[in-house]
């Protein structure tokens, strides 16, 4: 099990403005943390910082363990579906048995008949499923997900949620960004609400939806524009 993730005074300046402002966070080592907030709040930037794809302007991040990330727009290699998956499998804990594991995973996500097809010819939802399977095949202890169901139909969304929940049950730490309140209710143990790069709220999921304390979160949940 990974250590808890901690940040102290985490700040990121991009394009001359502070996009993440002095965040002090401690995320439990297991369970699902959902990050919410309006467009441009800094959710994707925060994920990138935590995953160490970008360096903070100031402040510190403490996180250990194997990590993987599913991006807001899935990046498919110009290879077959199968080759995309094998590329990750060979780098993870299933490297020894990659070929068998690959068949198993493809069957699990319903893409076994499409194994030889170019991955970029899959539909958006299929690409998201493949991207999630690819991230999981790295055997992450922390999994970052940036709106993994943003353009998916309800069935595909539930399929992804089931996979995420299974990973969480197997003690993978999940950090998920979503605008889907239903999804947040279904998956979240705790909620982080960001606005303008600032932490407005960090509470247990039940408390957040029943009685949000910050005016920004209240307005967001009520479907009002937060400015």
């Amino acid at each position: 099990m990974a250590d808890p993730i901690r940040t102290a005074a985490l700040t990121l300046n991009a394009g001359g403005e502070d996009r993440i402002r002095a965040l002090d966070l401690t995320l439990s080592a297991t369970g699902t943390t959902v990050i919410m907030g309006p467009n441009g709040a800094g959710k994707s930037l925060l994920l990138r910082l935590l995953h160490r794809l970008i360096a903070p302007t100031s402040g510190t991040i403490h996180s250990t363990g194997r990590q993987a990330m599913v991006f807001q727009r899935p990046v498919m290699l110009r290879r077959s579906v199968e080759a995309n998956l094998l590329f990750a499998l060979r780098r993870g804990p299933y490297a020894q048995d990659a070929a068998n594991k690959c068949r198993e995973v493809l069957t699990g996500i319903g893409l076994n008949t499409r194994a030889k097809q170019p991955a970029r010819s899959l539909s958006g939802g299929e690409q998201q499923r493949l991207a999630l399977a690819r991230a999981l095949s790295l055997g992450p202890e922390i999994l970052f997900l940036d709106e993994p169901t943003a353009s998916l139909d309800p069935t595909a969304t539930l399929a992804i949620e089931k996979t995420v929940q299974r990973a969480a049950d197997a003690n993978t730490k999940i950090i998920l960004v979503t605008h889907d309140q239903g999804q947040a209710r279904r998956l979240a143990d705790e909620i982080i609400f960001l606005h303008n790069g600032q932490l407005c709220e960090h509470t247990l999921a039940a408390e957040f939806f029943d009685a949000p304390t910050s005016p920004q979160a209240r307005a967001y949940l009520a479907g009002q524009l937060v400015l």
């Binding site: 794809l53 990590q67 991006f71 990046v75 110009r78 780098r91 970029r120 010819s121 790295l138």
Partner: protein, 235 residues
């Protein structure tokens, strides 16, 4: 006019009969240019990929130079290689002047910058798309370059074909460092130049026809590859 059609008739006859001189010349042309393109890719592809990914001071200047080298005039390359390989030159002791090896060296110098500059562009675009995914997966720079070269393979083969097209059609460099010696360093382009000036039009025309066919084949290959890569990229 009659002379002209007669020359064409003889040229076709030469090609169809598989004339021994003709085959020897075509064979040497292919050997020299294919070797040159192989060596140029071996140098140019990793260099291009590295230039696409690396960020260092003076990178902009290096890119300008590499791009400018794409337009190197063959005769200038020929002259520089001649000076280095001639008896008094720094590499004179190897005795390579007027050998196929000298021709390969000259053509490699001519096309390696083309391979490097064009592949740099291909890889840079791919890299912009893949970078975060690769860093997320913890790929080392070497692994990333290998994966980028593989994923850009169809575009990169097109780049190699462009280099080969330039090499096989080039005359200025090989005539200076090869000398157009019969049975030794005579290739299609130098033979065409010589036979035309000697007035042996059928052989010149026959070689010209073969050269055209090679150019057409290379272009057709490049085009079908491009179509294939498009379908792989977008479905």
């Amino acid at each position: 006019m009659h002379e002209f059609t007669e020359a064409f008739r003889l040229a076709f006859a030469l090609v169809l009969a598989g004339d021994a001189d003709l085959i020897e010349i075509v064979g040497l042309s292919l050997r020299v240019s294919l070797t040159a393109i192989a060596v140029a890719c071996f140098i140019g592809l990793p260099l291009g990929a590295w230039l696409a990914i690396a960020r260092f001071k003076g990178r902009g200047a290096v890119l300008v130079v590499v791009n400018a080298l794409m337009g190197l005039p063959p005769v200038v390359v020929g002259l520089l290689v001649y000076l280095s390989l001639s008896r008094a030159g720094p590499l004179g002791s190897f005795g390579l002047l007027y050998t196929p090896t000298a021709m390969i060296i000259a053509q490699t110098i001519l096309i390696a910058p083309i391979i490097a500059a064009l592949s740099r562009q291909v890889i840079e675009d791919l890299h912009a798309e893949y970078d975060e995914q690769f860093r997320s997966m913890g790929l080392s720079r070497r692994e990333a370059i290998a994966a980028l070269l593989w994923d850009g393979r169809t575009a990169l083969i097109t780049v190699a074909l462009a280099g080969f097209g330039r090499a096989i059609a080039e005359v200025g460099a090989v005539i200076i460092v090869g000398g157009n010696i019969d049975h030794l360093t005579r290739v299609m382009t130098t033979a065409i130049a010589l036979e035309t000036s000697k007035g042996d039009l059928p052989l010149a025309l026959a070689l010209g026809l073969i050269l055209l066919v090679i150019a057409l084949t290379v272009n057709a290959l490049a085009m079908s590859l491009r179509r294939k890569s498009h379908s792989f990229a977008h479905g």
